[in-house]
Each structure stands twice: as structure tokens, then as C-alpha cells.
């Protein structure tokens, strides 16, 4: 093992990296795009301002008060619908998913109910909705809540039951907070595995290995340089993901640098997937088949290990299967460290990943031949 040689190899690989746009894209930009897309889709509705078209046929003081109530806490933004329009037709025409109709006799009905205490009388508030819309249910629920609140207010007595939310987490925990550590784990895995496969295939296919075998470079030099190179990429990609998710979605995760859990988890994950890459190399002799082999391995891993959604959402047998996948433990470790700041749990999952990494790395090193017949 010679430090000078390792530095020389690192320089070659880093140059080759930034001169190839597609690898830069998949290593740095792709995970960020995933964070942006999924973050936007799954951000909680409290941050969304719903549009609610209302046809106010009453045009009275009470209807104005009712409409004002719907805009409490900026729940809905009201857009008026002309009274002469036929509501169902209008909704279809303007592609509205939800439209509220306030009856003409709102005032009269309200007076009858309140003044005469006639409980058989009620005000029919009709809503026209499009059941094919995926977001309409949330809007309808919100509308129900707002109407229930209005009813409560109209009854004149303060509410009897109050819901008080208390999170199991010290801080607010949203989907995006869950999602970001998963993307970090995924980005490191994808980059480590595909780079290991592609580089090995390229070295072999083009015969570069034959040349390297006649220089003082040893296999140890090459492996250490590969791991250092992957570590540099992983740190870059992790930093980029954290910065973007913090700026765009205000994600505040524990960086876990003291004790250095995050760097430890990244190191262990890199070794694990570089090792898997070495083991898969015999199946990816050419650069073209290397990416196919990598994908065949990466995609099931990604979806079954809780990258995009919690493993608990899957059926039982898939959950058991997830628990033999190394990425599952990386995800567990990262979430324990970054979301829950649970050092013990993070170390437990890291330990399992490390044991796995040691096995595949040693096996990969033994199987990969550097000189004789390996060329």
C-alpha cells in the first residue's frame, strides 16, 4: 500500500467523474430531484391553500359571515360563482373538483331555526364534487370540519371535547423528514454499486487492468482508492441533499457528527456496496450489462428497504424480507441518528450493516483477481 499511488488513482477517478456529466447527474442531481419532487407531493395540506368556489344564492349578511368562517386560518380561498350558473354544469365546465352552493333562503331558514328553536329545520349546504379527483377527499374533510365548527358556534356553547396533539418525537416529524435519510442512503448505495460495477467492467473490457497489473499498483491500493473515492462522492451527495432539503422544505435533521454517527454510517454503507459491486462484477463483464445488473439489484432494494415509505406499510412477509436487506439497516441507522437522535438504536443498525459489509467486502476481495487470469 503506497499513499502516493492511492492519491494518483484518486485524482484519475475524480477527474473522470466530473468530466462525465451523466455520473455527476446521477450522483448529485438525481437524489436532489427526488427530494424536490416527493417533498412537494407529500408536503402536509396545512401548508396548502385550497381553492373553494362558492355560489352564494343568498347574498345576505349571514351568508357573508358563513363564507368568512370558511376562510378561518386560511383554510380556503373563496372564489365566487355567478348565481345564474347551473352549479353542476359550471363545475364540469370549469374543471372544479369541489363547489359549494349556499341556498337562496339561508336567511329565512336560519331565523326559523334560531328564533323558533325548530330543530327539524336545517340549512342545506350542497357541495358538488368530482370523485375522480385524488385530492377532493381532503378538501371535503376540511369542509366538513369547517361546517362542524360553524354548527358548534351556532349552538352557543363552548366545545366539550378538545383534541390535543402530542408527537412521539421531540420535534415535528413530517414525511419529508422521514424521506430525506432514505434518499441519502439510496444515493450512496446507487453510486457505490454502479461505480464499482462500471469501473471494474471498464477496466476489464478495455484491458486497462492488464496495463495496471504491470505497474507497482497493488490490489490494496486500488481498493482503498475506490473506497476513498466513493466516500468523497457520498459526502458531496449527502451535503447537497441536506442543504437543498433544509433550504426548500425546512428539514432540520440531526447531523450526528458528535459522536460521528453519520460519517460512520456512510463509511460502512460504502464498504458494503463496493463489496457487493465486486461480487457482482463477474455478471457484468461489459460496461453495458453492468448498469443492467446494477439496476436489477438496486430497484428491489430501494422499494423494499423503506426508502420511499416505511417498511411497516408492507405486508408481513415483505417486512421479513426487508430485514435481510442491508439497505434496510442503513435506513434504520440513518433515521435513528438523524430523526430520533437515538444513538443506541443507530449503533445497533450500523453494527448489523458493518457485519454485512465485512463479509461481502472480504468475499469480494478474495473473488476479484488482480493479475493472473483475472485480466
Amino acid at each position: 500500500m503506497t499513499p502516493g499511488i492511492i492519491v494518483a488513482i484518486l485524482a484519475v477517478r475524480i477527474r473522470s467523474f466530473y468530466r462525465q456529466r451523466s455520473t455527476v447527474f446521477f450522483t448529485i442531481a438525481f437524489p436532489i430531484i427526488l427530494v424536490l419532487v416527493f417533498g412537494t407531493i407529500f408536503t402536509k395540506p396545512e401548508h396548502l391553500n385550497f381553492d373553494l368556489p362558492v355560489q352564494d344564492n343568498s347574498r345576505s349578511e349571514s351568508s357573508a359571515r358563513l363564507i368568512e368562517g370558511l376562510t378561518t386560518d386560511h383554510a380556503f380561498t373563496i372564489t365566487p360563482v355567478p348565481v345564474e350558473a347551473e352549479p353542476t354544469h359550471y363545475a364540469r365546465e370549469h374543471k372544479l373538483t369541489l363547489l359549494l352552493v349556499i341556498p337562496k333562503d339561508l336567511d329565512a331558514l336560519q331565523k326559523q331555526r334560531l328564533a323558533l328553536r325548530d330543530t327539524s329545520v336545517f340549512v342545506p349546504l350542497t357541495y358538488i364534487f368530482d370523485p375522480s379527483s385524488t385530492s377532493v377527499n381532503t378538501k371535503i374533510q376540511l369542509l366538513n370540519m369547517m361546517v362542524a365548527a360553524a354548527n358548534q358556534q351556532a349552538s352557543g356553547s363552548p366545545p366539550m371535547f378538545n383534541l390535543i396533539p402530542t408527537s412521539i418525537l421531540s420535534d415535528r416529524y413530517r414525511f419529508i423528514d422521514f424521506f430525506v435519510p432514505g434518499i441519502i442512503a439510496m444515493a450512496i448505495m446507487t453510486s457505490a454499486l454502479s461505480n464499482a460495477l462500471n469501473m471494474n467492467a471498464e477496466l476489464r473490457q478495455k484491458g486497462i487492468l492488464r496495463k495496471l497489473a504491470t505497474t507497482p499498483i497493488t490490489r490494496a491500493d486500488w481498493l482503498i482508492a475506490s473506497i476513498l473515492y466513493q466516500l468523497i462522492l457520498s459526502v458531496l451527495s449527502t451535503a447537497a441533499i441536506l442543504i437543498v432539503s433544509s433550504l426548500v422544505f425546512d428539514v432540520r435533521l440531526h447531523l450526528s457528527l458528535f459522536p460521528p454517527l453519520l460519517p460512520l454510517i456512510i463509511l460502512v454503507e460504502v464498504i458494503a456496496f463496493v463489496g457487493i459491486g465486486m461480487l457482482l462484477t463477474p455478471f457484468a463483464k461489459e460496461a453495458e450489462s453492468a448498469s443492467a445488473v446494477a439496476n436489477a439489484f438496486l430497484f428491489p432494494m430501494m422499494f423494499l428497504s423503506g426508502t420511499f415509505f416505511p417498511v411497516e406499510m408492507m405486508p408481513g412477509f415483505l417486512q421479513s424480507f426487508a430485514k435481510i436487506l442491508p439497505l434496510y439497516y442503513v435506513n434504520e441507522a440513518l433515521r435513528a441518528a438523524m430523526i430520533f437522535a437515538d444513538i443506541a438504536a443507530a449503533l445497533r443498525s450500523t453494527g448489523i450493516t458493518a457485519a454485512f459489509a465485512a463479509v461481502v467486502f472480504v468475499a469480494g476481495t478474495v473473488k476479484t483477481r488482480w493479475g493472473d487470469e483475472g485480466v
Binding site: G4, I5, V7, A8, I9, A11, V12, R15, S16, R19, Q20, K206, G207, I208, R210, K211, A213, T214, T215, P216, I217, G371, D372, E373, V375
Partner: protein, 321 residues
């Protein structure tokens, strides 16, 4: 040459791949400072032998010493004093010529890869104008010269060139030859593997011919042709169609080639006179063209191995690796 030690000594070398004996009891020596050409048809064990000498492969039995060091035990020391252009040299696509050479120089140790050294290497191989071009953008000839330059970064005593001109056009081939001649003048020992007889005739001091894993001949190109030239070759062009049969009736093994010329192996100049007289007596017109020459290495090779040399370049690596 007792004062100069041999650069390479191969002694009873064998290499077995399962059932296949790729190299079968091969022994030869390469003198320091000479250009040694290794010729053989595809699958003859040529590249396997070279790669064992280059320390890439391990011998099954026998010994190989390079610069008086055994390949089996002193790989690390040997690689520092040899330079290798592997068959079908390729390098990292996105590195420039200068970066590629600096990389190979740096792996040979601290202080290597200085700008001046790299510049000198690029001058030697005439790569200076392409110093900043990325490897993948270079033509085959230029890539090959990068490979030769990369084989020289450690100022090696022995340079291995495995088919340095395969796939190159005649112009690029001649340029590579010039580089090789320059290396020889600098006193390097050069071990050249080639498919091209012309290359061996122009460059080599010694030629070894390997066939089916065994060395069948080893000598200087001139002595090889002399030793194996037990006949001259007469070529007649634009002769009458009846000429072939007539010459065969005289007892010569004449053959007609695709271009309608007639090739006749003969013993001496008297045979030429005899054949021409016979054609004249039969009333046939004199041939338009007439050529008598000694056989070249190509024919010696064909005679010794029973196979042509140049067919299907590149198959060998697939068969043995």
C-alpha cells in the same frame, strides 16, 4: 556476449489451462540491448508467454528471469524496471494525454511525473500537439503512441510491445517503427510481439517463431531465411494458359494464384533457363513478367508452422484469457 548479461532468460516454461497446454516447454534468451521479435499465429501461446514474462500471469512450471530476477518471486522489483505496452492498449477515456502519462509516472514513485519528464516523453513519441486531448478522442495510432509513452514513464531497461501496430494504417505503423528504432538507439532491450513479418524484418535483431506452444525457430531474420531457404521462387505473369500444365509436367510443383500469375519453387537459376526454354520450344509466347527471389520471413513462417501469420488478429487474447 559474456560481458553483457541476458535481459530475459526463459527456461523450460510451461503454462497449462485445464486440459490445454498453452505453453509447452519453451526456452529462449533475449540479449540486453537487442530487439527481439516474437512471432506466432493466433493461439500459439505467444501472448501467454509474454504475459508470464511481464509478471501478469504465473507459470505452471519452469523459470523466467528478467534482469536476473525471477518473475515468480520478484514481481514488485521487476515491474519497476520494465515497461509494457499490452495488446490493444486502452486507458481512462476522459484523461488527457498529459494526465494519463502523469498518472502512470506517479504510480512509479515520488518525484516521477515532473512536467519536464512528461514533455520529453511526449516529444519522443511525437504526442506534444495532443497533450491536452482526452484519450477517447485520439485515433488508434495516437492511442497506441500514448501506450508506448506510458510504457516508458519509468525509464525501463526492457520494453515489451505486444502487437504495437495491429489495427494501424501503414503511415501510423511506420511512425511507431521510428519510435521503436529510437528506443533501440537508447540501448533499451525491446521484446516485440507482432503479426507483421515486415515489422520483424525491419526492426528485429532476433526472431523467435512459436507454434502450438513450442518454439520452432529462433535466429536473426537473415539467418532464418538463409537456413530455411532451400528453394527460390519464380513468378511468371501474363503467360499462356497452357504454361501451368507444361511446367508441372517438368516436375515442378507450380501453382496458379488469384491474379493469374504462376508461382514455381525452384532450386537455382538453371531451372529458370530450363522452364523458359521449354515454353519457347512449345511455341508459347514469352511471359511479360518474370521474378526470381529468395523466400522472405513470411514464407519461412508458413513453412515452419504450416499456418499463415496474419489471419484474424486479436483472437488469441479471447482464447487464452
Amino acid at each position: 556476449m559474456p560481458d553483457k548479461p541476458h535481459a530475459i532468460v526463459v527456461d523450460h516454461l510451461c503454462k497449462r489451462y485445464g486440459e490445454l497446454l498453452a505453453v509447452d516447454d519453451v526456452s529462449f534468451t533475449v540479449k540486453a540491448g537487442e530487439v527481439f521479435a516474437f512471432l506466432g499465429p493466433n493461439g500459439a501461446g505467444k501472448t501467454t508467454t509474454v504475459e508470464i514474462i511481464e509478471t501478469i500471469r504465473k507459470p505452471t512450471s519452469g523459470t523466467v528471469t528478467v534482469l536476473e530476477m525471477e518473475v515468480a518471486t520478484r514481481k514488485a522489483d521487476i515491474v519497476r524496471r520494465i515497461g509494457v505496452l499490452p495488446q490493444g492498449f486502452a486507458s481512462f477515456d476522459r484523461l488527457s494525454v498529459r494526465e494519463t502519462l502523469r498518472f502512470y509516472a506517479r504510480v512509479f514513485g515520488a518525484g516521477k511525473g515532473r512536467r519536464a519528464d512528461i514533455d520529453a516523453l511526449m516529444d519522443l513519441t511525437d504526442l506534444r500537439p495532443k497533450a491536452d486531448a482526452q484519450f477517447k478522442t485520439l485515433s488508434g495510432g495516437l492511442q497506441q503512441r500514448v501506450g508506448i509513452a506510458a510504457a516508458l514513464v519509468n525509464d525501463p531497461e526492457v520494453v515489451f510491445l505486444d502487437e504495437p501496430t495491429t489495427g494501424l494504417d501503414p503511415h501510423a505503423r511506420r511512425e511507431v517503427w521510428e519510435v521503436v528504432k529510437g528506443l533501440k538507439q537508447r540501448g533499451k532491450t525491446i521484446f516485440l510481439t507482432t503479426h507483421y513479418m515486415e515489422e520483424a524484418e525491419i526492426l528485429a535483431d532476433t526472431v523467435a517463431i512459436i507454434s502450438k506452444g513450442r518454439i520452432v525457430a529462433i535466429d536473426s531474420p537473415a539467418r532464418l531465411t538463409e537456413t530455411h531457404a532451400d528453394h527460390l521462387r519464380l513468378t511468371l505473369t501474363s503467360t499462356d494458359a497452357a504454361a501451368l500444365g507444361l511446367i508441372q509436367q517438368m516436375g515442378f510443383t507450380a501453382t496458379k494464384k488469384a491474379d493469374e500469375s504462376i508461382h514455381v519453387p525452384i532450386k537455382n537459376a538453371n531451372d529458370v533457363r530450363g522452364i523458359l526454354a521449354e515454353l519457347h520450344n512449345a511455341g508459347l509466347p514469352s511471359p511479360d513478367g518474370l521474378d526470381v527471389r529468395k523466400p522472405n520471413l513470411e514464407e519461412v513462417f508458413l513453412k515452419l508452422t504450416g499456418e499463415p501469420l496474419t489471419a484474424g488478429a486479436g483472437r488469441e487474447s479471447g482464447a487464452t484469457s
